[in-house]
């Protein structure tokens, strides 16, 4: 089984970018004569790690499929409908806006955040991702797309990443606040703590059958 696949198609080369705030995306070259479309799974470590996403654009101009995949259903780039609410909670607006975009709110969002009262709320017709960012400013928390394709927002708890002993440090660039790491199962995610440092951004680069995680830290 190939180390990394998109929609079951082997990844020849590519990168998967995981920010702490916002949606993740990946650009991949696939060993396939035609590009997949619609909802896809990005699988790493022979299926140990799965990211649920949607092909935003792609094609196969050289008998190699080239695709950009974004997290979730791809609805965050669609314009939200202009709506005015009064006397609602953050959950009411979030579910309405995300429902219109065919996106899903994670079940792990804290009840306190969801219960935030909004005396009024005006959604301007703009990309749903921007509406989400604007809503997250009310409780003052970040949002991001989780690997399962659902949207989470809340205060960071910085849990320690699992399996840290399995990572190998290949390069340390303290001036950039970045490390390049390798692991059999690259399960490091932004919002976690690795080696006592808060992980801000992870970019998995896949090339020649190898995966290298470029990890940027908050304290840089």
């Amino acid at each position: 089984m190939p180390f990394a696949t998109v929609a079951g198609l082997p990844v020849v080369a590519g990168k998967l970018c995981l920010p702490r705030a916002g949606n993740w995306h990946g650009d991949f070259a696939l060993d396939a004569a035609s590009a997949p479309t619609g909802k896809v799974q990005v699988a790493l470590a022979e299926g140990e790690l799965v990211f649920e996403g949607t092909v935003l654009r792609g094609g196969a101009p050289y008998q190699t499929a080239l695709v950009r995949v974004v997290g979730g259903a791809g609805g965050l780039t669609q314009d939200a409908a202009a709506k005015f609410y009064q006397g609602v909670t953050l959950q009411n607006v979030l579910e309405d806006v995300l429902g219109d975009a065919d996106e899903v709110l994670s079940g792990t969002v804290s009840a306190d955040v969801l219960a935030t009262q909004l005396p009024a709320w005006a959604t301007i017709q703009q990309p749903t991702g921007e509406v989400l960012s604007s809503l997250a400013l009310v409780p003052g928390v970040p949002w991001r797309m989780l690997p399962d394709g659902s949207i989470w927002l809340g205060a960071e708890s910085w849990p320690a990443a699992a399996g840290q002993a399995g990572w190998q440090l290949l390069q340390d660039a303290p001036e950039l606040g970045r490390q390049i790491l390798a692991a059999d199962v690259p399960n490091l995610l932004p919002g976690q703590t690795f080696g006592g440092r808060q992980v801000s951004y992870v970019e998995h680069r896949i090339e020649a059958g190898k995966l290298r995680a470029h990890v940027y830290y908050e304290d840089a």
Partner: protein, 163 residues
């Protein structure tokens, strides 16, 4: 995104807007009053179709204690306090707004204007002496108003009231 942007600029604009997601809430949007629901609370439909219809948003008149009742159709601007979508407001009238009533400081008394009638109490006339000539003809009047006459504005504006 906007048709004004090309493919290369779009990602840059998207990046900026992701950092400042509320940038559109910092503008003032022209609209039309649809309905007035209460003292200084109105429904407004903005001209820009990217904005929703607003219901019962506060009307900021700019003068303390002022309360206005306007006819539907008046033009006004809609904004957001501090660029916060939770706090829309309407302010700054366009030309042609028809005022049905306007009051200051609680209202209750019609405001007097130049030309409004003034009532003078009869008791103030008691020092006047009217003398009719024995052969007939116009009376002569002597004397005058004593002290400070008790006068009162008897009518004023039908729209403007003062407290």
């Amino acid at each position: 995104m906007s048709a004004l942007l090309d493919r290369i600029k779009e990602p840059f604009v998207a990046l900026v807007r992701s950092v400042f997601p509320r940038i559109d809430y910092l503008a003032l949007y022209p609209g039309t009053v649809v309905l007035q629901r209460g003292p200084n609370a109105i429904d407004v439909q903005c001209d820009d179709p990217r904005l929703p219809g607003f219901a019962s948003i506060p009307l900021f008149l700019g003068e303390p204690s002022a309360v206005v009742q306007v006819q539907a159709g008046a033009r006004i601007l809609v904004g957001f306090q501090g660029g916060d979508p939770r706090y829309p407001f309407a302010a700054l009238w366009g030309n042609g707004a028809v005022v049905q009533s306007l009051s200051f400081a609680g209202g209750g008394h019609a405001a007097a204007r130049v030309g409004d009638p003034v009532k003078l109490a009869l008791s103030d006339l008691q020092q006047f002496v009217f003398t009719a000539p024995p052969t007939g003809g116009p009376c002569t009047v002597t004397g005058g108003i004593v002290g400070t006459p008790a006068t009162q504005v008897s009518a004023g504006s039908s729209k403007v009231q003062l407290g």
